[in-house]
Assembly symmetry: C2
Homo-oligomer: 477 residues x 2
């Protein structure tokens, strides 16, 4: 049966989660592979998702006073090298341009892996006085990191993202902005993407190259692995000193600025897929779905059916993102496609429905069907989509909670990472050596030191020395 | 006087137009130069302009069925070389990536100067049947061309643009799409940017590398020089044959697709500046201005003035893009800044105005002041902005018409290009040799063979042989 073919074309999550993921990104037509190793084509369904992410996140940024700019794609080698830790972190994974046209360049340029150094070079000339502060700039662009192993959305040699870069007159203000943007990311993930996250600080081992402090939001995927979904860095005055970014303060003294940066990328599309998806394909939260309702005519060759479907589309399109599926495929096949693409609801309308002045709304996530009077369609649709949005978040939160464990000692810690998959909360002494041992032994990394601390035990889960912090640990993408 | 300083800081257009342009882009804070030769920073005022251009143009695209995608930044050398004319046109001006991380690449990658070859490589795998056609894809991205001489917005090594790439089942449909998108560009320039354009076809000498036909919109800048502002190309099946892009048609036969591409870039910001600007700075059309109205409080330290200004901002911000200038600068200085930045109108409000329940609206382009009752502010503002938008187009059209000349013979042609600056309409035999002679002699190029043909004479303005077409000639950016 044609109806079954589409679903059967993807591997079940429980059989092979990685293969399920690869199948879904391909069958839902989010991406395609290219002749350029490690780079992908983001197809219309994938890009429309990114456009909605951009639109929502950009509006949240602007509410906090962010202004968008665009800086060059290339970074001269000498500029990249100005901040020592930063260049050590990034140089091994950048792409180098050595020739422009027919000539060899005098100085190699790297394709930006991130733009701290360019923003510093820009701010150095743009900031003179306290009146020029703060600078709260952001850019939407692509960046390149020469990864060896790549996976669609999760790790690719080129990816799309936004990178915010700010400069402030005081360390306190910089820290405030760092946390503010982390909270924007957390709110965006929960309210728009329906993905619950753990907010916290990275350990020194895991922090960004050149940062004084890196904050992160960590999400839990359906398979129990963690995905770092957004990060926000406080650089203190480290970059300012390396680049000489000074301003005349109100007291007429020259001072260094304090800087932050923060980024979220097309990786979150990977999170969307792996948090909400099921064996029939994608499940998209209504707020970010490119199409929120697929109108599917039943017996569309019968007189008046297609016309009614178009009429509903016209009626709804001012308030919802709707699309009639008027292809000559069977309704069952159309249902499968709507499910594979994760369209939040389908509106089924056939001759009998038209006669009775009603239609059927079927939710993608629960498959729950509701018979709705055509008169009250807008209201019903709005309620169902709203309910679906909040229930998706609740469901994901229940999953995260159910897969978050605590370990007081190493035996329990090992047992959990052997038998279960999820976050494990455990105490840590603060010594990187323990992180190294845990990573070596279990392929587990510290995900974050959460803002909401708990006391699981008195001693470090690894070395038994007095505990300094509670840490979320996990296997990560 | 402080009030005069800002205006005096820019060169007068009549003294040195090129310097005026450079001064304006810098003083209006649209761009900044960088350590990366030939690349620029697009600052918030410049980028907000680009965002509005994107938003308007993207909506027009989507109305015609365009879907957005994202393809890789890099093109393998072997892929670029598949279409002979195309590679000859672009290879001399591309940037080459030779190293990824610490290793030399097996094959060089160029940073995309345009993405025809990548779209072809993608379409080759994505198109199988007539059911997959047409493909009407577009991407917003940056491209790189290793130019020797650069100028902000007009010619830079990296610039932002959109590039549409389509595939069709027939040549007729491809031609229709090529013209359709040219018309979208023309409508966008006239309705949104208030820039009148001449639509026409490029001669073979000036067409895009690999195209069968290139169509263009040409605008006339204030100094009488032409600016190519958008192009649309019909490739026939040339690329499809080079890349093997075939589909099974309804008759079950394998056929090659027909393709088009079309692009508009940050160059149009250069056009905006050079068509509308004056000796006080930018003049932005209301539809695309990041801030449409600057609310400038007069005697803002007096009680209630700033509060009233904020109140008006709150009232207006749902319908207009408004901003109170509450800095501690003098009103005169604020006026100068509003003028330099090209903000369409300023709303002046002081203690006497508040008492009388009115304010003064001053237009940027004509400096015309209107006293307006606060009760009717929305209506008045809407009318004034609407009028300004249409009058800016009319004014620019009058300028273009007044600087469009006709020449029946070479003497007249030479005299016009010596004494005047603008478009010259003249007949052409169709032979590239005549274009070469004219370019050599007068640094003048054929801008386009306009859709609206006129008969200026019977013979070619250059060689005297029978004329084939009337051509717009000009000196171009």
């Amino acid at each position: 049966m044609a109806e079954k073919k589409l679903v059967e074309s993807i591997t079940s999550m429980d059989v092979d989660f990685a293969q399920w993921y690869t199948d879904v990104v391909k069958k839902a037509e989010l991406i395609d592979y290219t002749s350029v190793k490690g780079c992908m084509v983001i197809k219309p369904a994938g890009y429309a998702l990114w456009e909605n992410i951009q639109k929502n996140l950009d509006a949240m940024f602007k509410e906090t006073g962010v202004e968008n700019v665009y800086l060059p794609l290339f970074i001269p080698e000498s500029l990249l090298q100005k901040e020592k830790e930063h260049v050590e972190g990034f140089a091994p994974e950048v792409a180098w341009v050595t020739h422009g046209g027919l000539n060899e360049l005098q100085e190699r340029l790297c394709v930006r892996p991130t733009s701290e150094t360019l923003f510093c070079d820009f701010y150095k000339n743009d900031i003179h006085s306290y009146r020029d502060l703060p600078k709260v700039y952001n850019q939407w662009c692509s960046v390149v990191r020469w990864e060896k192993e790549t996976r669609p959305f999760l790790r690719s040699r080129e990816f799309l993202w936004q990178e915010g870069h700010t400069a402030h007159a005081s360390l306190e203000e910089a820290e405030e902005r760092t946390i503010q943007m982390l909270n924007v990311y957390a709110r965006f993930c929960e309210e728009v993407l329906a993905i619950p996250v753990i907010r916290g600080q990275k350990t020194d081992k895991e922090k960004f190259a050149g940062a004084e402090a890196t904050y992160t939001i960590e999400a839990l995927m359906h398979d129990g692995k963690a995905l770092q979904s957004g990060t926000s860095h406080n650089f203190g005055d480290g970059f300012a000193r390396a680049f000489g970014i000074q301003f005349a303060d109100k007291d007429n003294k020259l001072k260094y600025v304090y800087q932050t940066s923060w980024g979220m990328s097309t990786r979150v599309i990977g999170a969307l897929i792996m948090v909400h998806g099921d064996d029939s394909g994608l499940v998209l939260p209504p707020k970010v779905a490119p199409v929120q309702a697929a109108i599917i005519p039943i017996q569309q060759k019968k007189e008046g059916v297609l016309e009614k479907a178009y009429e509903l589309q016209e009626r709804l399109k001012g308030s919802f993102r709707v699309k009639v599926d008027d292809t000559d495929k069977s309704p069952g096949w159309k249902f499968s496609e709507q499910e594979m693409r994760g369209i939040p609801v389908r509106v089924e309308i056939g001759p009998k429905d038209i006669e009775a002045g009603r239609c059927v709304i079927c939710r993608r996530d629960t498959r729950e069907k509701t018979e709705v009077s055509l008169d009250g369609l807008e209201k019903a649709l709005s309620e169902i989509l709203g309910k679906m949005q909040s229930e998706m978040l609740e469901r994901a939160r229940r999953h995260m909670d159910a897969h978050t464990y605590s370990a007081a000692d190493m035996d329990e810690f090992e047992r959990l990472f052997t038998e279960k998959a999820g976050f494990v909360k455990a105490m840590w002494c603060g010594d990187q050596a323990c992180e190294d041992i845990i990573k070596e032994k279990l392929s587990v990394t510290s995900r974050c030191i959460p803002f909401e601390q708990e006391k699981i035990a008195d001693t470090c889960v690894c070395c038994g020395k007095p505990a300094a912090k509670m840490v979320y640990w996990g296997r990560a993408y």
